[in-house]
Symmetry: C2
Subunit: 500 residues, 2 copies
């Protein structure tokens, strides 16, 4: 067979799938075939034809053959890669030329024969099988110059250090480049895993609460007035009325309780216009909020926190093992240490522990980030847990709607919860008596008129109740000991970042 | 025993639980006891002591006894009521006097003996048991004048008509009064059920998608520029940058697909600043959004819609029977008629059906509400379904990012979905080729610079993909054939309503 004849024979076996998916012989080639998942390929399938859609992770061209590593994200099983080998004897010289002009991150449909090579394949996650290429169609071609290399973005700090020590060039992708090109950044195995762990964290939170008789509700984000006072709010014009974005579902979830929904939770965005440029603050994040009737006191809420979070942590460890490993590969971390029955300390006990360690703090003030972290250390040394509840906070540092303690109004029926020395949650019993609520609002300098509908909702029979709020991104960040909350927000918003 | 002695004997058995839950003998009386759910009370428990917390639904005072109907919302089982009987011989004259001063909607802790009376109790949901009262503590006292009576709010239109015909005064609570006092309005059995059905609708949506390998993500609501163009947006100042509230998660869910998440869904608020004063528009509602890779064409998305919604409807009918009954009791409706395999008609077929029925519509324009409803009737008559998909919409009436049909660019790979003649969903294949996307944006009069990050995200390998968006409130409204979307939004927002 002449070279020309040979090329003719193979000419319909490759090409770019162009606009409207019309081009090439792609449609005929894939007709009636099923696309396989990379993660599903097994040795037993050796000899059979497979059709795989994946991204070009890397490729190595030789004179008469081309190796392509195809990559697939996989919701359930994490990221998978497989080696595809195109030999000139199988595909012709022109197709080899075509393959040499591929670009990383392009999406290919590869049709080939699955084989089980004698030696394990080095590199891809699929080590026992590879694909002998017959046909390749480029479904979407990536520009050759990427704003960031996915391989670079996937490298651990330790790997970068090691390369640098060995004098090998290793690109360190900085955070802004990552976030500016988030659609590329999230193609790394660690980021895919973080997003999945986040999805599961919410799923376990919901599932447990629904099992416990809670109702999932949605509260409006557009509200008149400010939802809590305190932190800054985003203001806007609502059809001629002044409005703002809810800083929490606080007031509405309490109204839902006054409406006899009994136990509710809200998952949704909360907005904070604070100028906090820290590793743990965002201007928009996902709030996990709970509000519930209680029978006697706020320990019932802490009981729930205990049961719920121990469940969530246990489920994450058991059901997201591979995902957590993928995260740890790039960002090494120790599994969270927590007790079966969550430790509870009073604020006064906490202050005392700090005092004994030489840290003086205002007994009726709030803890700053530094003393919270110090207390976390002390608690870990003494109780061997990185997850605990600190309760009976001073009334002065809590929102106006917090129920003061019956035995000492300087303290309140409230709590914070900590993971690895950082606060993730605030909660407590709410004042359900309208007169007391008004009194406290005035004491805290809040204009009672702006919250009159809220206060009025307690005038027609209000259950004893309480609840808490926690940020999804912060829980995942601290569970995985990540150093920045921007790693756990899909498209983070901070005082400077409003895109993409 | 003298009257004085008798009163002394009973004096610790009743009273208001005041501030900080300190007062009366309440704490001692409930110590070590468990609160029972009204719905859990059964004949077999007759003779035993029970402690119940509930609201005063209604009460009837007689000279020497008082009947109180206690009401409880119950997440799982719906609303339950039980009759409590306080007899002077059991509780003393002073307590009877105390009970006569109760107000409807107050919350009581009742301790008494469960009995199974010979005759069925008329009125409450618990007909075989009632409580012989021993102690009563008022946990929260409602004002005597309610802005709306819960009993009034719970009455069906038919009941009101019947009462009026019989010359009996029957209050019709109008919608604004309901919404202004939503925390009271949602105490009705129908509203409690609607909220639960909404919770379950979301739950079935999530559960099915997670089972199918989808990832739940959260997209930012604060964005630069407008998310789609077209409908009006809420604008605000974001730390000195012009920003707006996302009208849909469209652009971000597509970027997630470009980031290899493969199949994602988003549940969260979407914001529309439209001046639509209809029964089916809100300025803020809960969007259920899906985006997924496809292999060949948009029928794969319609396959998913089919499987997902048939599952959701079936689950709702099977698992929310009691809730749907409770809704139907106040707002009678026929169960939704849908096929096991969802009907698909092309837009052209729809136009043809309308034409044959004498309705002329622009073959390349959009359907208005009236012709949609008419088509719904025709489809129902011909195919016996109230749920169907209309696809291959004219390109001119779809967003710029919609993929035109390969065989005729005047039509597009898109669809709408209808329930009972009203649109609930728009979806389709998206343009994944950056050059085509730019071209279409320009044709639609969109400034390409404002969406450059979006377009750029397709330059580095973009999967064929598509998806859809649907409003949770609208699905529930139409599934239950309710006449107004404000009935299915917990705290609705329309052009005039920003509170509560």
């Amino acid at each position: 067979m002449s070279l020309e004849e040979e090329n003719e024979e193979f000419s319909s076996n490759y090409g770019d799938v162009t606009e409207n998916s019309k081009a090439g012989n792609w449609r005929e080639a894939v007709e009636g075939k099923k696309w396989a998942n990379v993660s599903d390929l097994v040795e037993e399938m050796a000899g059979s034809e497979v059709l795989i859609r994946g991204r070009v992770d890397t490729y190595r061209p030789y004179s008469s053959k081309v190796f392509v590593i195809l990559r697939q994200g996989d919701g359930c099983k994490g990221q998978s890669t497989v080696q595809c080998v195109a030999k000139q004897s199988n595909v012709g010289v022109k197709m080899i030329k075509y393959l040499k002009q591929l670009t990383c991150e392009s999406i290919l449909d590869v049709i080939g024969v699955l084989v089980a090579p004698k030696d394990l394949v080095k590199g891809p996650t699929q080590k026992k099988v590879e694909i002998q290429v017959r046909k390749v169609y480029c479904v979407s071609r990536a520009l050759a110059r990427l704003p960031l290399g996915v391989e670079d973005a996937a490298r651990s700090e330790a790997d970068i250090e090691k390369s640098l020590e060995m004098g090998i060039k290793a690109v360190r992708v900085n955070q802004d480049t990552r976030l500016n090109n988030r659609f590329l950044d999230i193609r790394t195995a660690a980021n895919q895993a973080i997003i999945h762990v986040e999805c599961r964290t919410e799923h376990f939170f919901r599932g447990k609460l629904l099992d416990m008789g809670f109702v999932s509700i949605h509260t409006p984000k557009l509200i008149a007035g400010s939802s809590e006072g305190g932190s800054a709010v985003f203001k806007l014009d609502y059809k001629g009325q002044p409005a703002c974005l809810a800083q929490s579902p606080q007031l509405h979830k309490q109204m839902a309780i006054c409406g006899d929904l009994r136990r509710v939770f809200v998952v949704g965005p909360v907005f904070r216009a604070e100028d906090s440029f820290t590793h743990r603050h965002l201007c928009e994040f996902v709030g996990l909020d709970v509000e519930m009737e209680i029978h006697k006191d706020y320990s019932e809420i802490m009981d729930l926190v205990d049961e719920l979070f121990v469940y969530m942590f246990t489920e994450l460890n058991e059901k997201c093992k591979k995902k957590l490993e993928a995260i740890g590969k790039q960002y090494p971390f120790e599994p969270l240490k927590f007790l079966e029955k969550t430790l509870r300390l009073t604020f006064e006990e906490g202050i005392q522990m700090l005092k004994e360690a030489g840290v003086e703090v205002d007994p009726l003030g709030d803890l700053n980030t530094e003393s919270e972290r110090k207390l976390g250390q002390l608690v870990f040394e003494k109780y061997k847990t990185e997850f605990y509840i600190l309760h009976r906070y001073p009334t002065a540092v809590r929102p106006f709607y917090t129920m003061p303690c019956a035995d000492n109004p300087l303290y309140s029926n409230s709590f914070d919860v900590f993971i690895r020395g950082e606060e993730i949650m605030s909660g407590g019993q709410r004042i359900h008596i309208p007169e007391v609520l008004e009194e406290r609002a005035v004491e805290c300098g809040i204009d009672v008129n702006t919250i009159s509908t809220y206060i009025d909702s307690f005038r027609y029979g209000a259950p004893l109740h309480g609840g808490f709020g926690v940020g999804l991104e912060r829980v995942v960040m601290l569970f995985c000991a990540l150093d920045n909350i921007r790693k756990t927000s899909l498209f983070p918003r901070d005082p400077k970042r409003l895109a993409p």
